[in-house]
C-alpha cells in the first residue's frame, strides 16, 4: 500500500529535511519497518525497546489515533496519510 507519511520537525533530520515522505506497508508495523530501512533512525523515538509504540509520540492514520484502530497491526490502504506526532511543550 502506498502511504504518505507526515513527519514532525524533530524527525525530518532523518529524511533529508522532508516534511512528507512516501512509504509502503500493508500494516503500520510494516510501514515503520520500511521507513526505518529507508531512513535509519527515524523510528527510534516512535517504537519503544519492547517493540511497542511510545506513549509520547502519537501515530495517526488519517485523523484517527492508531491506539483506537489496531495499534501496530492497523491495516493501511492506498492513499492513507500516516502522521507521527510528538508531544511538544514550547510556548
Amino acid at each position: 500500500m502506498a502511504v504518505t507519511v507526515k513527519l514532525p520537525t524533530i524527525l525530518r533530520k532523518h529524511a533529508a529535511g522532508e516534511a512528507k515522505v512516501d512509504a509502503e506497508g500493508a500494516t503500520l508495523r510494516e510501514l515503520l519497518d520500511n521507513l526505518e530501512s529507508s531512513y535509519p533512525g527515524i523510528t527510534k523515538n516512535v517504537l519503544a525497546e519492547d517493540g511497542g509504540l511510545h506513549r509520547f509520540i502519537n501515530v495517526y492514520v488519517n485523523d484517527e489515533d492508531v491506539r483506537y484502530l489496531g495499534s501496530l497491526e492497523t491495516e493501511l490502504s492506498d492513499g492513507d496519510t500516516v502522521s507521527l506526532l510528538p508531544a511538544v511543550a514550547g510556548g
Binding site: R55, F56, V88, G90
Partner: protein, 279 residues
Amino acid sequence: MTADRRPGAPFTEEQVQRYSRHIILPNIGGAGQRKLLDSSVLVIGAGGLGSPIAMYLAAAGIGRMGVIDFDRVDLSNLQRQILHTNDDIGRPKVESAVEHLRAINPTIEIVGHDTLLFSDNVMDIMQPYDVVIDGTDNFPVRYLVNDATQFLGKPLVYGSIYQFEGQATVFMPGQETPCYRCLFPAPPPPGTVPSCAEGGVFGVLPGVIGAIQATEAIKILTGEGQTLEKRLLLYDALHMDFQEVKIRWDADCPVCGKEPTITELIDYEAFCGVPARPD
C-alpha cells in the same frame, strides 16, 4: 473611568464605544460582550503564546485576567514575545505584562502572579478563574495544569509550539471528555526531546497559535460556535499546512479515566530549561 464591574451591569458609554465592533457582531452582540465582561481567565505564561493570548483577551474585555510567570524579560524573548518591549529587559515578565495590558485596556481587572506553578499553589491560583489557558513552555507545568484543571472542573485551552509547528485544542471538564493525558499520558523522558532553548522557535508561530487559543477562550465564555474540543489542530508554518486529528477520551486515562491512578498533583522533575524546585 472605572467601569461598573458588577455582573450584568449596564454598559458605560465608554464600553459601548470600546466594544462596539463586538456588540454589533452576530454571535457576540451585547449579550456576548456582557458575558466576556463578567468572566475571568488565567493565562499561564507571559511569553510567546501568553503575549497574544493576553493582549487579545484584554482588548476583548475579559472582565478579570490573571497572568502568571516567574521569569524576567530577556533580549532573546523580544523576537516573539510581543507583550514586552526593549525597555522591559530585566523586569519581571508579570510586571511588564500587567503594565502593557492595562495600557491596552485600563477598564478591566488584571492580576499578576509572579511565581512558578507547583502542586502546592496551583489550585489556589486557578480557583478564582472560569477558564485556564496554557501558554507555558515546559512539560512539568503542562501536566500540572492539566491535572489541576481536571480536579477543579475547569476548561483548559491548550497550545504548544516547537520550531515551525504548533498544536492547539480545548479540554473541557466532564464525563468521558478527553484531557491532555488522554492525548499524551506522560511526559517524554528527559533527553528524548530537544530542550526549548536549543530547538529554536519561528517568531510568528506563537502569534498564530496564541490567537487561536484566545479565539477558543472567547467561544467557551460566550457559548458561541464550535470549539476545538475533541479535535487537535496541527499547524506547520513552514508549509502553511493545517491538519486536524481526533482526540478520544481514554477510559484508561490516569486522571480522567474510569479508574484514575493519579489523584494528587505531581511535580515532575524539571528538564526543559526550567529551574528545579527551589528548596
